[in-house]
Amino acid sequence: MENYFVLLGTALILLMFLTLVRVVKGPTAIDRLIGVNVIGTKSTLLILIIGASLGRIDMFIDIALAYALLNFMVSLATARFFQRNRSAGMIEKEEVEL
């Protein structure tokens, strides 16, 4: 079963990679925020997966819980920022150089 969790975790990370593409590509700041929000929620799961594959899931739940709460806060704060600044639509003119 632990092996299954490792597999699941790897699959999740691969999908997070895809989400990261959205973070990198943008085009607006708020699109990045979508990506980061999703990544944050999935990190909660990933932490639990790590806990399960180490067989000590009870120690990892607190972290996951804290994570869920703080991820929510970050999304909320960023949304608030855009509400005040009314500039969420700002687009990067130049391409990102990687």
Binding site: L54, R56, M59
Partner: protein, 134 residues
């Protein structure tokens, strides 16, 4: 040489740590925007934390908390502890302190950035230098 390569490639965490460290210090020195410098600083610090944490790893170990350890019946548990089966707790402790120090520095740096912006109206280094010359 092959030995060297093996040593380097096997420790890919060291690669990541070195790359992050380089990114961080480059940003701290070269970036023009003060906030970018602060981000570089944070990356630099977390690279060092990465370094310490990877020191704490042991093969075949688990997290440094005794399983099902209750505070009150320590007599029986204490003798069964095998040091090799728990990750090294000391770097974790050091890095907790370092994270806290990092966030304190971050707060102060951000406050100074805001104040710089209030005085000069910009946080681009070259523009600030121009304004100072005037």
């Amino acid at each position: 040489m092959a030995n060297f390569l093996e040593a380097v490639l096997g420790q890919y965490n060291n690669w990541a740590f070195i790359i992050l460290l380089m990114i961080g210090i480059y940003a701290m020195i070269a970036k023009n925007n003060l906030l970018k410098k602060v981000i570089g600083m944070a990356i630099f610090q977390s690279a060092i934390i990465l370094f310490y944490v990877s020191v704490s790893l042991k093969k075949g170990a688990t997290i440094p908390i005794i399983a099902h350890g209750h505070g009150h019946d320590h007599g029986a548990v204490a003798h069964a502890i095998d040091a090799a089966s728990y990750a090294n707790p000391l770097p974790h402790v050091l890095m907790l302190t370092a994270i806290v120090v990092g966030v304190a520095t971050l707060g102060v740096a951000l406050a100074i950035v805001q104040k710089v912006n209030r005085v000069y109206g910009t946080i681009e280094e070259d523009e600030i230098l121009e304004k100072i010359k005037e």
